[in-house]
């Protein structure tokens, strides 16, 4: 068969298409990878395979409805996405949500973060060729999803936040189940460390791989564990607290290795911090209303509002432009995955294909979050 252009250039470079159907692109990410042998010369992401234009759809829906679309962005931190949207509407309406709603929102956020990191941990193992972590990660995640299901009726796209608070009160079993989960998870966390953290092959694969300098991390707008693995403090919960995060004690885990291993350690430590936050809150859920009183039709006054939350992947910003009507005039989601993906090329250049997979895994990409 005659090829239109030579598959291998004069310099020995050739291109392979990783994705949109590839076991380690976690969805429909399409990477055009230029290789020389096994060495990566260039990585170019091609997106749009799951683009639904949520921003455009939001413009056509009301302030109550557009929140539900955001569960479909970063589906692993659906609760935090909803929270950011609810917060931007509350900011526009100058609503103060009841303390009970704040605490429950925090609890749910941290549980979501734990669930997301557990999935990430399993998928990281899978990408590096170890299959067992995936099942161990899911074992604990399942417990959290059961808690969600009991309270919200949904396991993944929870839609639990509404402008003004929460949709329902928590289920009576909630507190007990969370406590059981915490006890189980504390037993299981050492297993996580046994299987990957201390493993010599794992350390060889991740240490010194995918270097992202702090300057680059900031310039690329990286957030979450990616930036914190490069030693940049960027936890929104710390420096711009929302929904009561100023009342809880936790640390912002930081590493200065700038490599895949640092990002891994940051996420593992984030899990420990989340557990700490939940432990502080679970016995102190205040009594009272779970929802502030709102009008049936919400009309956000004319103006521009910006809120951000720390999702499991980093900083999610919602930029709302309102013209005073009952629909948003323009919504922009500043999604963490999109910025983190931009740094992929810089991190992957000069490494091997196997490293590309490790780097993608530690970036923790969720494709619907990038495509929106």
């Amino acid at each position: 068969m005659e090829l239109e252009q030579p598959a291998i250039s004069d310099t020995g470079d050739f291109t392979i298409n990783m994705g949109p159907q590839h076991p380690s692109t976690h969805g429909v990410l399409h990477l055009k990878v230029t290789l020389n042998g096994e060495t990566i010369k260039n990585v170019e992401p091609h997106l749009g395979y799951i683009h639904r234009s949520i921003e455009k759809m939001s413009e056509a829906s009301t302030y109550r409805n557009f929140i539900y679309l955001t569960s479909r962005m970063d589906y692993l931190s659906a609760h935090m996405n909803n929270q950011a949207c609810a917060m931007v509407v509350e900011k526009g309406l100058q609503l103060e949500i009841p303390p009970r709603a704040k605490v429950i929102r925090m609890l749910m956020s941290e549980l979501t973060r734990l669930a997301s990191h557990q999935l990430w941990w399993g998928a990281l193992g899978l990408d590096l060729g170890a299959i067992t972590p995936y099942f161990l990660g899911f074992r604990d995640r399942e417990e959290i999803l059961d808690i969600f299901e009991e309270t919200c009726g949904a396991r993944l796209t929870m839609n639990y936040n509404v402008p003004g608070g929460l949709m329902y009160d928590i289920h009576p079993n909630f507190v007990g189940k969370v406590k059981t989960f915490l006890k189980n998870f504390e037993d299981h966390l050492p297993e996580y460390k046994q299987l990957l953290t201390g493993n010599i092959i794992f350390e060889e694969r991740t240490k010194g791989v995918g270097i992202l300098t702090p300057e680059d991390a900031l310039s690329f707008g990286c957030t979450g564990a990616v930036a914190r693995g490069s030693g940049i403090s960027c936890d929104v919960r710390k420096w711009n607290p929302y929904d009561g995060y100023e009342t809880v004690q936790f640390e912002e885990p930081m590493e200065t290795g700038c490599d895949c291993y640092s990002r891994y350690v940051v996420r593992i430590r984030e899990m420990e911090e989340s557990v700490k936050i939940i432990e502080q809150l679970i016995d102190n859920i205040p009594e009272g209303e779970f929802q502030a009183k709102t009008k049936v039709v919400l009309k956000v006054p004319k103006g521009e509002y910006y809120t951000r939350v720390e999702t499991a992947r980093g900083e999610l910003g919602v930029y709302l432009v309102s013209d005073g009507s009952s629909n948003p005039y323009r919504i922009k989601y500043r999604s963490p995955g999109f910025s983190n993906l931009a740094a992929l090329n810089t991190m992957a250049k000069g490494n091997k294909i196997g490293d590309l997979v490790a780097i993608m895994a530690t970036l923790d990409l969720v494709i619907p979050d990038i495509d929106r």
Binding site: M1, A7, F14, I16, H22, P23, S24, E38, G125, L126, D127, L128, G129, A130, I131, T132, Y134, F135, L136, R139, L195, L196, N199, I201, F202, E204, R205, K352, I353, G354, D355, L356, V357
Partner: protein, 358 residues
């Protein structure tokens, strides 16, 4: 006592009394062929089932449990499914090599079965250079993988094949050198004689530290030669989708799959024969009472027990470790295993000359 040696001998004598020696040989070849192929098919089914159950055990799952008693017929059902699948081949592939590659791989795996002593006197071909034969023939398998990768006309396949080539060529050295250690101890290349030499204790016990080192290196290099995790670079699912067999479907794919498991069996069998005494029961020097009790367990049970223990170890590796990277893999071989093997060989020479082993 029950013995395969008596059975095969009596068949041979009966046939010899009936017809001429050429006809006897032909009929015996046919019988052996049928037996080998059935063993092959059975091992394939058994090992896939075992792998799935072991994986399930390590991953808090149940594994196959629907088809047949405890899912035992699951692999058979899978085989039937694969038989009925379309044998697709890409348009731009080299058809001859594409079709020939799985056959080559499986023929090599089959050839390796010949010198393995399953029990006393139960062996297809008692060749006097058995160890040499095994290391020579097993290296042909990589040609099949290279053919498969190249002829698929797919860059993922090509990358996988090239990785596999680099990997197997390097790790053969270590595997070969660790086999040489036992050859030096026993003074023979014939697998039968190596087993006989372990009548008073297995080489892993008799051979002190050098045999231990050789055993560990053999397990590592063997895993690498098998292309199994943590050395599954040729497939590397998360990197190269499925590596050299990305484009294979149906029964052609099943042949690669089967060959992998047969190779695993053979590698474990060779390891068991050389280091763990093969079919030889566990004997300790002068403890005649203990040795006598051990003799009551049939040879085939000893052999299979050791082999399946090693297979379990290989599976354990696969489901526990992450994959290395290709350059780390080659570093491990050329900078660590190779020098250690060579040094170990010197040590063995010293031990053998001085007669320090038991």
């Amino acid at each position: 006592m029950f013995s395969f040696y008596d059975i095969s001998n009596s068949i041979h004598q009966w046939l010899s009394s009936q017809m001429g020696s050429t006809a006897v040989m032909l009929i015996e070849m046919a019988i052996v062929g049928v037996l080998a192929i059935s063993l092959f098919a059975f091992l394939g089914l058994l090992l896939v089932y075992m792998e799935r159950k072991v994986a399930a055990f390590m991953q808090l799952r149940l594994g196959p449990n629907r088809v047949g008693w405890k899912g035992t017929l699951q692999t058979l059902a899978d085989t039937i499914k694969l038989l009925f699948k379309e044998g697709f081949s890409p348009d731009a592939s080299d058809k001859f090599l594409f079709n020939f590659a799985p056959i080559l791989v499986i023929v090599v795996a089959m050839l390796l079965l010949a010198p393995i002593p399953f029990a006393k006197g139960f062996q297809i071909y008692d060749i006097n250079i058995g160890v040499f034969y095994i290391s020579a023939v097993s290296s042909i398998g990589v040609i099949g993988i290279l053919m498969a990768g190249w002829s698929s006309n797919n860059k993922y396949s090509l990358l996988g094949a090239m990785r596999s080539g680099a990997q197997i060529v390097s790790y053969e050295l270590s595997a070969g050198l660790s086999l040489v250690v036992i050859v030096a101890f026993s003074g023979s290349m014939s697998l039968t004689q190596i087993v006989q030499s372990q009548a008073d204790g297995w080489w892993i016990f008799k051979g002190h530290i050098p045999a231990m080192i050789a055993f560990v290196i053999f397990i590592i290099a063997g895993t690498a030669e098998l292309n199994r995790a943590p050395f599954d670079f040729a497939e590397a699912e998360s990197e190269l989708t499925a590596g050299f067999h990305t484009e294979y479907t149906g029964m052609r794919f099943a042949m690669f799959f089967l060959a992998e498991y047969i190779n695993m069996f053979i590698m474990a069998a060779v390891g068991a024969t050389l280091f763990l005494g093969g079919w030889m029961p566990l004997h300790f020097g002068n403890l005649s009472g203990f040795n006598h009790i051990m003799d009551f367990i049939p040879h085939i049970v000893w052999f299979m027990g050791k082999t399946f223990f090693l297979i379990f170890v290989l599976m354990w590796f696969r489901w526990t470790f992450p994959r290395l990277r290709i350059d780390q893999l080659l570093t491990l071989e050329w900078k660590y295993l190779m020098p250690i093997s060579l040094f170990n060989l010197l040590l063995v020479a010293l031990v053998v000359i001085k007669g320090w082993h038991f």
